[in-house]
Amino acid sequence: MPRPWHLVTSPVLWVGLLFAALLLGMPRLAPAFHWAFPQVVPPVFDRGSFLSLWLSHAGLVVAASGMATVIGVGLAVFVTRPGGRDFRPIVNALATIGQTFPPAAVLALAVPAIGFGPRPTLVALFLYGLLPIVENAIAGLEGVPTAVRDAAEGMGLSAWQRLREVEMPLAMPAILAGVRVSVTIAIGTATIGSTVGALTLGTPIFDGLAGNKLPYVIQGAILVALFAILVDMVFARLQRRLHAGARNG
């Protein structure tokens, strides 16, 4: 546990407080927005509370990133086993396509198939977030030193035991780095779900773009950016703690 004064100077805390303040208190900034953009009425987006938009947005990111992590790590494990090695190029290609195929295009294709709202958004976010996790997980698993794997096998650990006790813990820093990238990107990308009717922090952005109301765009964008920065900082903290735990004697 950090000591009290470390907590006070902790950047995560301050960014978190700023984010929470804006999330809950954006309407209080109405005078400022009105002064900067006098022709926009109302000056603050009001077709829904930012809090509920954020909750929906976060829910989409958590669900999509959770799936991407489970399936991404699963695929990485599969292609690093003797039986799955031949599939590695295919898995690599699929993950790469998942990220190079524009999420907007995925939405356009998914909507006729599965409807509007959160469902096509989840599909787009999942595909988009797969590559960093798969690549990092593969690198992490392959980075386990050969001598360690040989000793583990030679001492009598079963394949499952080797994976669970030796390979996964050693690959964890790389996997965490991949998840961090994937989640941070997903937070920004989730905004496009608003174009197909999902409730996200992108809703004020696209509303603002459509109705030529710049303050709404700014309000949505600032909240998305702060959310992404905050999550990224929390992951960084987590990675440091994992690293420190492993290195401490």
């Binding site: 001598a147 360690v148 035991q161 050693l170």
Partner: protein, 307 residues
Amino acid sequence: MIELARVSKLYDGRPVVDDLSLTVPAGAFCVVLGPSGCGKSTTLRMINRLVPFDSGTIRVGGEDVRQIPPEILRRRIGYAIQSVGLFPHWRVEDNIATVPRLLNWPRTRVRDRVTELLELLRLDAATYRGKYPHQLSGGEQQRVGVARALAADPDLLLMDEPFAAVDPVTRAALQGEILRIQQATKKTILFVTHDIEEALRLATTIAILERGHLAQWGPPLDILEHPANAFVAGFVGGEAGGLKILALRTVSERLRPGEHADGEPLPSTASLRDALALMMARHVDRLPVVNPAGQPLGVITLADLVR
């Protein structure tokens, strides 16, 4: 303890191990010796089924290795390799406890066994048990590796060039340790090396491999004095014979008890060759000698080496 009967392994149609038959009696320190690529590591790894073999039979303790599930077999056999392969994310204590935990030993028994093994390998248990591998030197890591191999008290130890990656002084110390441990516990050890000096110092029997065949098999003095063919003669007699004798005899055989000398002492288990090398490095003609516990025994001089 180990029987290999007409074992072969082919790689891309080429025999890496060719019709090899070998018997290692229980309690022997058998060194498998040969140049790079002769199949010695492959042979060792076929015994614990890390490498499959194409024909012949291998028995450990009378049982056909193919009839035992590989994990069960390996938990009965100690395994130590050159790069040690300690699990970097586990403390020394947990590394050593690996096989006992796999065998579901009770926690107190495991803890006591770790203490016992650290003491056996001359590492202070309280200091070392909580350390992580990256905090250890190469020699310390290899000691932990040996402790880990011995943890479940196996009757057989397979060691694949375990001391090749450490400096010569540490290597000599580790060789002394494994000799002492084997003599005290009477375990069977199959030890692979390409280092003739190491083989001569450690082995009760040596098996020399040449390109997958067994070239000669017997005690060290036999191999030195009656090499079976030109290859063996060349492999062991590369240097002048006298120097090999120096490697076979230890300081304890020639030291002068009670006398004193200055400088870093030499363990009594060191070979005469090590003593000569140290004298040359330090430009002295006498060295102090200590016993394995570090107590002074006496002195060895240059003249003693050629007595």
